[in-house]
Symmetry: C2
Subunit: 332 residues, 2 copies
């Protein structure tokens, strides 16, 4: 009856995406974008694919789906000490997409494009016979030779993590509202619940760690699939392991409250993923300078790297190794 | 019973994708890749998303799905006169994927990685609750200021197209094997049918046009959504139109045979898409040099650009404008 024709891909680009385009995007009128990399810089590139039902729920607010997708990619740049330069957006829209959905999605994206000064420089919008999926490819610049690698940790290096761990995993639990989580969920105050939900929906890419990483980190990665698994992955590349005291892992007040009510939450906290914090290794002699350079961004020393092929171990207050079954959350 | 556990994302990377990685891919052990762009070059970037049932059939040979996806992206670089430097692969695998499928997909990809000297430098592999989708982001280098834009056509410029038009659209018809196509399909020889199918499955990115484009083209784009629609899109950006004689549009022998049997095929030939040829505009004074520089790569002059806002028109042998309903194939 009152159905109007769906906008074409060209109309979607002109009406929704062109306002987000930077100069490199050539007004999004070409299939290609042109990236001018400063002569003394290298380009860091990262890509993430997110699919409905796996990485987000179909009925999540579109603004937040957009912002989380971009922030997850910004977090990859943050861990490499790179400065955002722009991104490409690939969008596969299911048959029942609406202009309202896309307008909200674009509005969320626009907020973070402005917030992180990271323009849209190109993309592709196609039809999906299945669910919504989106892919973001992000570009960052780093002075030549200054990208912080993932391997390269040496025996005795101190391991640091930014922010707090486990909030997003508990936020996801609150989002799913399973009966099994009702007890601890109901002991939390509304602000504590909101905080955890916010940490699930809106990661904080730690771009502010850039100078501290460039100056003093030997290796770094972002924690996206759970602290324990990602730590293992990073240490193994250098033939290292580590012993970590549970008490040293930074937890937010809300997460500590939840854990006090239900001790089994330690597993999702350590392995649940979506933290988007940065872990890095710093030589002991550089620790003071690293902490100083991190400034107001909270960084916490959680352990020391040791040569060895076995997995990093976490010990509780009595010195007993913690048994955690799943190493990391598998999006796959 | 004899089901073995599915490989994890890390195992997929190590077993399937790492052998395709170039130096910039850091062994695919990091979430990020490092692109070192030569100091006198700019980076051209393009991305395509392909979804099962829309851009390919779920039961297409995996080798060919992989190769076509990469070649479609290489074609974007070809139209910008850029040299391939590497690509990122985003893969969302449905629940029923098999290692055999992925091995074949990777084998096809490996062939074209070698053939076009375009290494895999990173990516992301995730689970899809819906159908298979893949996204490729490709990187090419072009000397500073030498990227051929899409706008910029001037009144009187000659319009050229590489290769032949319509083969892939007819190949798709053969692939679908609809009853309505039986008559013309059966008049074709087996080699002619194979040729059209091959043109559907394996585009030929026209990277060899690079020097001719850099030297003499004012504007260019690749024909991926149908000659007529893409020509219209390119000309409109410069406020131009064109008159084109049907007889001047280069058709392969197989396509001419099919058209002789069924005149209505002119519509898919001109609007069907997936040609992956390059259209470009050349100033009349540069035409001879452009053709010389194109060398053995066939380029055909199909018309002259004229100032004007109406759509480009194609005239048949009697000078009558051809009525074609759909301007271009919409993947969306």
């Amino acid at each position: 009856m009152n159905s109007k024709p769906r906008p074409s891909e060209d109309e979607i680009i002109a009406n929704f995406f062109a306002p987000l385009a930077g100069r490199a995007g050539l007004g999004l009128r070409d299939d290609a974008a042109l990236l001018d990399v400063p002569a003394d810089c290298e380009l860091v590139v990262s890509t993430d694919v997110l699919t409905s039902g796996v990485h987000f729920f179909a009925d999540d607010p579109p603004e937040l789906i957009a912002r989380k997708a971009l922030r997850a990619n910004l977090s990859d740049l943050a861990a490499k000490a790179a400065e955002p330069r722009g991104f490409l957006l690939g969008l596969a829209l299911p048959g029942d997409w609406t202009e309202e959905w896309l307008a909200a999605f674009t509005k969320g994206l626009a907020e973070d494009v402005a917030c992180f000064d990271c323009p849209l420089i190109g993309g592709d919008t196609v039809r999906s016979l299945g669910a919504l999926s989106l892919s973001i490819t992000i570009f960052g610049a780093v002075p030549k030779g200054k990208m912080v690698p993932r391997p390269g940790i040496e025996d005795g290096d101190l391991l640091y993590v930014t922010g707090t761990i486990g909030d997003a995993a508990l936020g996801l639990r609150l989002r799913r509202a399973l009966a099994s989580d009702r007890v601890w969920a109901e002991t939390l105050s509304q602000p504590a619940r909101d905080y955890l939900l916010m940490r699930h929906f809106l990661p904080l890419p730690r771009l502010a760690l850039r100078d501290a990483l460039r100056g003093f980190a030997r290796a770094a990665m972002d924690v996206s699939d759970g602290l324990l698994g990602d730590l293992d992955k990073m240490l193994a590349l250098s033939g290292m392991n580590a012993e970590i005291a549970l008490a040293d892992i930074p937890l937010s007040k809300a997460t500590r409250q939840a854990l006090a009510c239900d001790a089994s939450l330690i597993e999702p906290i350590l392995t649940g993923g979506d933290d988007y914090e940065v872990i890095c290794a710093v030589a002991p002699g550089d620790a003071a300078a690293f902490e100083r350079e991190a400034g107001t961004l909270p960084v916490t020393r959680i352990g020391i790297a040791k040569t060895g092929a076995d997995k990093p171990r976490i010990r509780d207050g009595e010195g007993r190794p913690l048994a955690v079954s799943a190493g990391s959350y598998r999006h796959f």
